[in-house]
């Protein structure tokens, strides 16, 4: 291959890659918005009557329907919904009468803080543990340690976060009185929710890091690095780990997305004043505009996580911009 074609190839892999990712993100976002819009129309029966109850006077129902614009043709409503979103309007809560945007603005930070902190804990714990286990159990060494690690991580990963939360509350908050049971006022109150959210994903990630790293360690270029007599630190961290990053990061992104959703349950256990406790209340009270808005925020958060993961992958592993064409 001549140098000029190479040059062109190199410059051009990023652009189509970025374009593909942008298209995928925007398409998914559009599907999400449309799904959120349709949600209210897919509900069997009249959502207003559902939310106000069967005993509600007909004129109130009619007024509420008109206020929500439910009497307009579907496409008109869709247009209003989309243009509202562009202005940052998510509608008005049926229950409290406050704008949903305000509600989200109040509640979102607590949720984001919880998810991000838990994710950091996951990465900070799982990556070193996974690397260490890979190094220790390489080539079939320490079979017992490997078995203990694998089985405990399988068990930990199989326990859903809200059950972990209940266990943690019962043990560390109620029995030992080390941390507050609920709320997010004291610094100590962060410990249990973050742990409940982080333990399962950390177990999964540590396992993946170990398996991926072991696979990478079997590669020829690791042998080359060893033939250069690089110190073990460089062989593992500079040569092996970045090549295990693709799978780890792909999975890490999925986990972060799952953790965003996991906050819903954990927030409810700890009465955490975030979006998760709000959405459950809104679903129970049939406050559809609020549910719509919060679902949209959660969904967009997940899509954003995926986009960031893809871009970071492209930066770390130049081949991933070419692959999967």
């Amino acid at each position: 291959m001549t140098t000029t074609t190479l040059q062109r190839m190199r410059g051009s892999t990023w652009l189509p890659f970025a374009r593909r990712r942008a298209v995928r993100f925007l398409t998914s976002l559009w599907v999400l918005v449309t799904a959120a819009f349709l949600m209210i129309h897919l509900i069997p029966g009249d959502p207003v009557r559902e939310s106000l109850g069967l005993a509600a006077p007909p004129d109130l129902v009619a007024a509420r329907r008109a206020a929500l614009g439910l009497d307009d043709p579907l496409l008109v409503q869709y247009w209003h919904y989309l243009s509202g979103l562009f202005r940052g309007e998510f509608g008005t809560s049926l229950v409290s009468g406050t704008p949903v945007a305000t509600l989200i603005g109040d509640r979102l930070p607590a949720t984001v803080q919880l998810a991000v902190l838990a994710f950091l804990v996951v990465v900070v714990v799982a990556v070193p543990v996974g690397v260490l286990m890979a190094v220790l159990t390489k080539g079939g060494r320490r079979r017992g340690g490997e078995l203990a690690f694998t089985s405990s991580s399988v068990v930990l990963a199989a326990i859903p976060e809200f059950l972990l939360a209940v266990g943690l509350v019962s043990l560390l908050a109620v029995q030992l009185n080390l941390f507050p049971v609920a709320g997010n006022d004291a610094p100590g109150s962060w410990v249990l929710p973050v742990l409940a959210l982080a333990i399962g994903p950390a177990a999964v990630l540590a396992r993946i890091v170990r398996v991926e790293l072991l696979a990478v360690l079997g590669n020829d270029f690791v042998r080359t690095a060893r033939a250069k007599r690089l110190p073990a630190r460089l062989v593992y961290l500079r040569h092996a780990l970045p090549n295990a990053v693709t799978a780890t990061l792909t999975l890490g992104g999925m986990m972060l997305a799952a953790m965003v959703a996991g906050t819903v349950l954990v927030e409810n256990v700890f009465a955490w004043p975030g979006l998760g406790s709000t959405i459950v209340g809104s679903i129970q009270q049939k406050d559809y505009p609020a549910v719509q808005g919060i679902v949209l925020v959660y969904g967009a958060g997940v899509l954003l996580v995926n986009l960031v993961v893809d871009v970071v992958l492209g930066l770390l592993d130049p081949r991933s911009t070419i692959r999967e064409a």
Binding site: T3, D220, Y288
Partner: protein, 612 residues
């Protein structure tokens, strides 16, 4: 060892067996608990409201005085039943969505596929919440919500698996035979992906169970007066300050049931993957040896692997300064492992032992990394995989000097550019900034050699350096090695399966067979004085200008023994035309045969006219 087959193999692993027992208990509870204890679980006792655990009530009582322990047992039926129902609906929908693209017109298939791809990006719980809003809070809503939350990932799995089998020969054959697309799917594709699908359905049942518990716990799943574990858990959590048992009881139930499904699925998956490993042994007794050494001195080198596998068995040779030595043999003869062993690159569980293994007069095991890293250069067979794909070529060269020679990053990179130029890579400065995948194969191999030149190599070990390259590029690489040897007075150990390559470039040849050196002789005597029947057979297998082109090409009949199956006698005896009873019972030692010539053959003194 043969892999265990059959559907019951999963029960033979401890994890599989115990999770299977757990599943049976769960099913039994689901069937019988409501019949046996339904009344006790529903009995309202206003005298003992909200009590803690006691002998009468193992987990205490709820706000109506009902026994929580029995309620947990009775709730097994609803919990498991709903989880399985949701799983079945989800899996079936996923199967349909995942396999339907192969029978749809292309545009419709694309829509289905991309819809699945978008949906799969969202976590199941989020999907479940979304559907819970649409279907309404309550049992049916929750079942559908969880079912549709499972659907996308199952559809994706089906798609991937379908794609992986549809490339196979039997599918192509069926297609050629005119089998319709639908029939192809149901008769040929689905049966072949059934096993991973079933395993994943088991795992999905586990997550459906915990997700259902989550929804009920949040109050948007099962509604009173019905109750499942999630609901009991939610009720118990309100009282966790006072007594933990009412919350922990159902929590433990959910965890156990979830684990039972997950572990059973994992165990089945690992049976499916069929991993097998051997056991370790390593026999060897050292012998005293103080013969004269060279730059690289190898005496009685053994490499052993677990399971009594000995791919290298007592190899001895010496490499002197500035010498170019070839090692030839078929694949599996132990030549590459010998190269790795002398350069201290054999990893656990492989074991290296030797009476002497010295580089530059010092035991290799005790030589410092700095010395080996700068004085011993390695060139590997496949330059494509031997470079780290995520780092630039220049950096990969430079780190040798950074680590071993204390050069700063910039100076090391400068040196890397200089060395790339030395191996005649055009525009070395620009090339140094590129990634390995931007290099051609031959250029990568030259860059690999340049990497060895970052230090002051006294020995270059090149393990099949030309095998992965085009014939035209091969010669360049060989020339480059020869030039390095001349310019720097470095010794080269060239490993190749190609005796002609070795004959053209080397001073001496080591012929390896079944983990041993069977002959060592100067290259210029190779065609005239080779004594071992294996060497002569290798030479005869090379066609030249005099080869009768109407006759079939000469081959060596049979195949070399695997390292695990070497028995008594000369390993070449089964393929040797001269073999007699002695050859078949006793292994010959490598014995000096005139000057610079060693042969391990009982027949080396006999007339070899019949073979030549």
């Amino acid at each position: 060892m043969r892999p265990t087959t059959g559907r019951l193999a999963v029960l033979r692993s401890p994890v599989g067996a115990s999770s299977a027992v757990l599943l049976v208990v769960l099913v039994a509870l689901a069937v019988f608990a409501p019949i046996l204890w339904g009344d006790r679980a529903a009995a309202i006792d206003t005298d003992s409201l909200q009590q803690g655990p006691s002998a009468d009530h193992l987990l205490g009582t709820d706000q109506l005085g009902r026994d929580i322990f029995y309620r947990v047992l009775v709730a097994t039926r609803l919990t498991i039943g709903l989880a399985l129902l949701a799983t079945v609906i989800g899996v079936v929908t996923g199967l349909v969505l995942g396999s339907i693209p192969s029978v749809l017109p292309r545009w419709a298939a694309r829509i289905v596929t991309s819809a699945v791809n978008i949906a799969v990006a969202f976590p199941g719980l989020l999907l479940a919440l979304f559907f819970a809003v649409i279907f309404g809070t309550g049992t049916i809503g929750a079942v559908l919500a969880i079912a549709f939350a499972i659907t996308p990932s199952f559809a994706r799995l089906t798609q991937t698996l379908t794609a992986s089998v549809s490339g196979r020969d039997f599918i192509a054959a069926a297609r050629v035979c005119g089998v319709g697309r639908f029939r192809l799917l149901t008769r040929h594709v689905l049966p072949n992906i059934a096993e991973p699908l079933v395993i994943n359905a088991t795992l999905a049942a586990g997550s459906a169970l915990t997700a259902f518990a989550g929804l009920s716990f949040l109050g948007i799943g099962v509604q009173a007066p019905s109750y499942d574990w999630g609901r009991l858990l939610g009720e118990g959590l309100n009282r966790i300050y006072i007594t933990p048992a009412p919350a922990l009881g159902p929590a433990v139930a959910v965890v156990l049931a979830g684990l039972a499904f997950n572990l059973f699925g994992e165990a089945a998956a690992s049976v499916h993957r069929n991993q097998q490993r051997g056991k370790a042994t390593a026999p060897h007794e050292p012998v005293e040896d103080r013969s004269e050494g060279g730059l690289l001195t190898v005496r009685n080198l053994h490499v052993t692997f677990p399971g009594g596998i000995r791919p290298v068995r007592g190899v001895s040779f010496t490499v002197h300064n500035g010498e170019m030595i070839g090692v030839v043999g078929e694949s599996g003869s132990g030549k590459s492992l010998t190269a790795l062993a002398v350069s201290r690159l054999i990893e656990h569980p492989g074991r290296v032992t030797a009476d002497r293994l010295e580089f530059n007069g010092k035991p290799v095991q005790k030589t410092q990394d700095r010395e080996l890293g700068t004085q011993l250069a390695m060139v590997f067979q496949d330059p494509t995989t031997s470079f780290n794909p995520t780092r630039r070529i220049g950096g990969q060269l430079a780190e040798v000097s950074e680590v071993h020679q204390g050069l700063r990053r910039r100076a090391a990179l400068g040196k890397a550019v200089d060395r790339l130029e030395a191996v005649r890579i055009p525009e070395p400065e620009r090339r140094a900034k590129q990634y390995p995948h931007e290099f051609s194969g031959g250029m990568r191999q030259r860059a690999m050699i340049a990497m060895g030149l970052m230090g002051e190599p006294q020995l270059v070990i090149a393990d099949e350096p030309t095998t992965a390259l085009d014939v035209t590029v091969q010669r360049e690489v060989l020339k480059l090695l020869a030039r390095i040897r001349k310019d720097r007075d470095a010794a080269v150990l060239l490993i190749s399966h190609d005796i002609t390559v070795v004959a053209q470039t080397c001073d001496r040849v080591l012929v390896m067979y079944a983990g041993r050196i069977v002959e060592e002789l100067p290259t210029d005597e190779l065609f005239t004085a080779a004594r071992h029947p294996y060497t002569t057979a290798l030479l005869k297998a090379v066609p030249d200008l005099d080869t009768d082109r109407d006759a079939p090409l000469a081959v060596i009949p049979g195949r070399p023994p695997e390292p695990g199956e070497i028995r008594q006698g000369c390993p070449f005896a089964p393929r040797c035309p001269l073999a007699d009873d002695q050859c078949r019972t006793q292994e010959p030692e490598l014995e000096t045969f005139g000057e610079n010539h060693r042969v391990a053959c009982w027949k080396s003194e006999s007339e070899l006219a019949g073979v030549r």
